[in-house]
């Protein structure tokens, strides 16, 4: 990794003068609309951690009492992602709600096919926010696209009273409250806020592990001022989530020259034009990482990015490209560091690219862990057991909402 040369850039940062943020704080408008009686603002519950966003404003990240707004791709195809998030919350003893009264944000389809419109997208968002409010839990958005899209929806609802009125009338017919959360919070912001808690509970030494980070476009490029930036990470010039977590866990984060590039997901491309996705993911991302950083693992914080970067490597390998780096979320990585089971919790068998050398390097006996997992599968197959439960994965019993 190219180390950041501190003396010169440090001096530059010290010269910095305070600047006025170039955007209006949308949250002030959200409260004004509440004052006008148009909607209820769902307050961030205490306790919360205050973090810094791109233009130096503060954002509140709640700790517990969260309503897990799940992700289609995570739950459907890489379920260890969601499971790891829940597991982390349980390890910290935090109460949460894993709701069934939640739909997809439907934005993946919207960005892929455009078979929807502003009003429909905003109504879906507000239905989910209303459901969270009724459950008395604060929404935590698992998917980067849901997060980015909901921030866009918030901008549109704030800017256009007609849209607001239309969506409100739909929510009225559904018998749902019209609610906008005080903050729109991505799970990786919660992981960032909790990173020192994880490090304190860490059981594996990760100092030999080199990771590369892929930041999700819809996290830091959509409504940019809401993303977390930290002067200690990349000099405050790039979003700090994921990177700060890996560093807090003692892993080395290596830089590479296509850091800002998209993964190649493309929304429609991953489903019906995968030649583009495969080429972009392998040639612009994985191969560059291998060439420049030779990482043990790629860490990212969104559904589509994990899927794209992981699944695309199979054909890359078939073509003799320089690929073969396992991909997972920073939540899975943190869970492993804290001793989570690689198969029962992190569910790494759903991932495609070979990850056993990584597990060995992390000090995880994958053979034994896989045998344990197979034992569970046998019990499930024989009918001896219906499901693997939280009791089977060393997760603290937590009074939860609908998942109790």
């Amino acid at each position: 990794m190219s180390k950041i040369p501190l003396p010169i850039v440090q001096e530059r940062r010290e010269r910095q003068r305070p600047a006025t943020p170039p955007t209006e704080d949308i949250r002030e408008k959200v409260f004004e609309i509440e004052d006008a009686g148009e909607w209820t603002v769902h307050r961030v519950p205490e306790p919360y951690t205050e973090v810094t966003t791109k233009y130096g404003r503060t954002k509140k990240i709640p700790h517990q009492g969260l309503w897990h707004h799940k992700s289609c791709g995570q739950c459907g195809h890489i379920p260890g992602y969601s499971t790891a998030i829940f597991w982390l919350m349980r390890k910290l003893g935090f109460e949460y709600d894993d709701p069934k009264d939640q739909t997809s944000c439907t934005a993946w389809n919207y960005y892929a096919s455009a078979t929807s419109n502003s009003a429909a997208q905003a109504a879906v968002a507000m239905r989910n926010f209303g459901a969270a409010y009724e459950s008395e839990h604060f929404p935590l958005i698992h998917c980067g696209t849901s997060y980015g899209h909901y921030k866009d929806v918030r901008e549109e609802l704030v800017a256009h009273p007609h849209l607001r009125a239309k969506v409100r009338s739909i929510l009225d017919k559904l018998g749902r409250p019209f609610v906008m959360p005080e903050e729109i919070v991505h799970y990786s912001e919660w992981v960032y806020a909790m990173r020192h808690e994880f490090a304190a509970r860490q059981v594996l030494d990760l100092s030999e592990i080199t990771a590369t980070v892929h930041p999700a476009c819809h996290y830091h490029k959509l409504v940019v001022e809401d993303a977390i930036y930290d002067p200690d990470i990349y000099g405050g010039q790039r979003t700090a989530v994921v990177t700060a977590v890996a560093q807090a866990l003692g892993a080395e984060v290596a830089d590479y020259s296509t850091w800002f590039d998209c993964c190649g997901f493309g929304f429609r491309h991953i489903l019906v034009q995968r030649d583009f996705t495969r080429s972009f993911a392998t040639q612009r991302k994985i191969e560059v990482m291998v060439d420049e950083a030779n990482p043990d693992v790629v860490l990212t914080h969104d559904t589509g990015c994990v899927t794209t970067l992981d699944q695309s490597q199979f054909s890359g390998k078939a073509h003799g490209r320089k690929v073969g780096v396992p991909v997972m979320s920073e939540a899975q990585f943190a869970a492993l560091a804290m001793g989570a089971h690689p198969y029962k919790v992190c569910q790494l068998h759903w991932h495609n690219t070979e990850n056993r050398p990584l597990l060995e390097k992390m000090g995880i006996d994958w053979k034994e862990r896989w045998r344990e997992f197979e034992d569970e599968l046998k019990q499930l197959e024989s009918g001896e057991k219906e499901y693997v439960t939280w009791d089977d994965v060393d997760a603290e019993p937590v009074a939860t909402g609908s998942d109790s």
Partner: protein
């Protein structure tokens, strides 16, 4: 007017203009388009520009020029190449070419344009899944014939799908036909949203068969729930 009309000459100008006016009527349009510096910041950030003959700069430029002929050409030939990653929102003028393309795609779907029909070919099962079940992808979509380029791993998942799903500790994730368990009431509300916001009409424009299937699924559910004043 256009500087050099040379394609889609069989389509009358008035029709192209009508579609352009429909784009401009979208409330987001004004927020997404200013002028264009022609600086190319969007192009260098754009993944699609590296693999296709595609340029977010040309989209913004054509719209800023109000070049109806060129816009129609883009509506047919370019907009479906966009990755919707919004890397182009770095535009120093404040343009959002990706957001403009979202609007253009909606117009293409609303009007049943050939480009939209082509783009959605083979995509119907995904629209069905999201609109019908409330989650976009389901575990049982992981079939080897759908993802041959992902290797034998997909077959391994599909062979063990039921038991692997039951090996998930969160109880909402034991599903195979949806990404997680969604309550009936929740789905019904989603159906109502599709009907109340004109999304069903959009589907009818581009895929009548899909529209019929979705309508069959939703009709009785909505009626039973008392949502009959659509």
């Amino acid at each position: 007017m256009t500087l050099a009309p040379n394609s889609y000459t069989e389509i009358p100008y008035e029709e192209k203009k009508r579609l352009f006016d429909e784009m401009r009527a979208d409330p987001r349009y004004q927020d997404h388009l200013y002028g264009c510096y022609e600086c190319g910041i969007c192009v260098a950030a754009c993944p699609s520009a590296r693999f296709y003959d595609f340029s977010p700069r040309k989209i913004a430029q054509a719209l800023a020029r109000q070049d109806v002929e060129l816009i129609y050409e883009q509506l047919n030939d370019d907009i479906w190449n966009c990755s919707q990653c919004f890397s182009c929102t770095r535009c120093p003028r404040g343009n959002n070419p990706g957001g403009l393309i979202t609007v253009m795609r909606e117009v293409a779907v609303n009007n049943g344009l050939g480009s939209a029909r082509d783009a959605l070919e083979g995509y119907g099962r995904v629209v069905y899944k999201i609109m019908g079940t409330g989650t976009q992808v389901s575990p049982d979509m992981l079939q080897p014939n759908a993802f041959p380029d992902w290797g034998p791993h997909v077959k391994e998942i599909s062979d063990h799908l039921d038991v692997w799903r039951r090996a998930l500790p969160p109880e909402t994730l034991h599903t195979t036909t949806t990404a997680w368990q969604v309550d009936d009431r929740t789905i019904t509300e989603l159906y109502f949203i599709w009907h109340a916001t004109g999304v069903m009409e959009m589907i009818e424009e581009v895929d009548e068969g899909l529209y019929e299937i979705l309508n069959d699924v939703m009709e009785d559910v909505l009626e039973d729930a008392g949502f009959d004043d659509l």
